[in-house]
């Protein structure tokens, strides 16, 4: 398994979607939330990358912003990439959903919506998964008490 350098992937993405890149490091790549779907689609469909498998989605609360992390793998090319995106605002943070690209994102986006309160626009069935309808708040946020 080869872990792709975020710097090199960023250069290629910048050619297609110039406004997407926020910052790139050796082991990860941060992109703008609005361009998430376009970048994900490019990474999935481009034959150079061909990321056909979504390992996991996780979210972190850094107080100033939420960071959502996508672990991507290409089973064909045997390489992997860590894709990050940030969304600002605590009242109604939202990101585009990637369920239409990777069906495995369905439950994970619901989990993040449930526990972190990030809305995924375009998700076919965005509702709570661990907690029940009517539960107040999103418990994995740092300010939840």
């Amino acid at each position: 398994m080869i872990f792709l350098s975020g710097l090199e992937v960023a250069k290629k993405i910048a050619k297609h979607i110039p406004e997407a890149i926020v910052e790139a490091e050796n082991n990860s790549l941060v992109i703008k939330g609005e361009t998430l779907f376009a970048v994900a689609k490019y990474l999935k469909d481009s034959p150079d990358y061909d990321f056909d498998y979504l390992n996991a989605i996780t979210a972190v609360d850094y107080y100033d912003y939420f960071e959502v992390i996508y672990q991507l793998t290409s089973l064909k090319n045997n390489h992997a990439l860590t894709l990050k995106t940030r969304c600002y605002g605590r009242d109604n943070p939202s990101l585009p959903s990637v369920v239409s690209l990777w069906r495995g994102a369905d439950f994970q986006e619901r989990e993040i919506y449930d526990l972190m309160g990030i809305r995924f626009e375009g998700h076919p069935n965005l509702k709570r998964i661990f907690l029940w309808e009517g539960f107040k708040g999103h418990p994995l946020r740092k300010d939840y008490l």
Partner: protein
């Protein structure tokens, strides 16, 4: 007939003779049928009567074969599995059979943390069990929520959902502790008072 010197050999004639004698003696002593040793079972009630109260009999039969419902939400279940397996052998108490259907069970062992999301299902299992039924709260989580007590999603004690008869502390309790709890439940059952109702008698009374 040539026989080696110094070696004593039974002749076939002697064997036949002793066999014939044994058959004759057996025939002589076997002219009457041997009585059935279990014949007393068919005799009247005078021979073997045990007088006990209905409570004692009912409680004995109930506590001697408790059937647990399969309702193990978390990790204490493994201690229950150990208690049920060969080393600790719950079948000594007549409770080796786990019932997947709560309608055939009369004991619920609440092995593990209960979340509010799961609570309605546990309550439904309890409601489906036929009377009389008992609950053992197993482990710290079953008693009070344990280390997860302050969580937003954990029920702090099964006794908020179902009535609990015996509390077995531990995190998790060892099988010995669970067996001690089961013995305590046996003692509790043996003291139960049963209300008898015979429909036909009550009908006559009302007439």
């Amino acid at each position: 007939m040539e026989v080696a010197e110094g070696i004593d050999v039974y002749s076939a004639e002697e064997l036949d003779k002793s066999e014939g004698e044994f058959i004759e003696s057996l025939k002589a002593t076997s002219q009457q049928p041997i009585p059935d040793p279990d014949r007393w079972l068919q005799e009247g009630p005078s021979a073997n009567v045990l007088i006990a109260s209905i409570d004692a009999i009912l409680n004995w039969s109930r506590r001697a074969s408790l059937w647990p419902a399969i309702c193990f939400p978390a990790c204490c279940a493994f201690e229950f599995i150990a208690a049920n397996a060969s080393r600790f052998d719950l079948s000594r108490f007549g409770m080796e059979i786990l019932r997947a259907s709560p309608r055939q069970a009369d004991l619920m062992i609440t092995a593990g943390t209960l979340t509010w999301k799961m609570a309605p299902n546990v309550k439904r299992i309890y409601d489906q069990m036929p009377e009389p039924k008992w609950v053992i709260a197993m482990g710290a989580c079953g008693i009070s929520g344990g280390i997860f007590r302050s969580s937003y999603n954990v029920v702090p004690g099964y006794n908020l959902i179902v009535p609990v008869d015996v509390y077995v502390p531990g995190c998790p309790p060892r099988p010995e502790a669970l067996i001690h709890g089961i013995r305590m439940l046996h003692h509790k059952i043996s003291k139960m008072r049963n209300k008898m109702s015979i429909p036909l008698l009550e009908q006559r009374k009302s007439e």
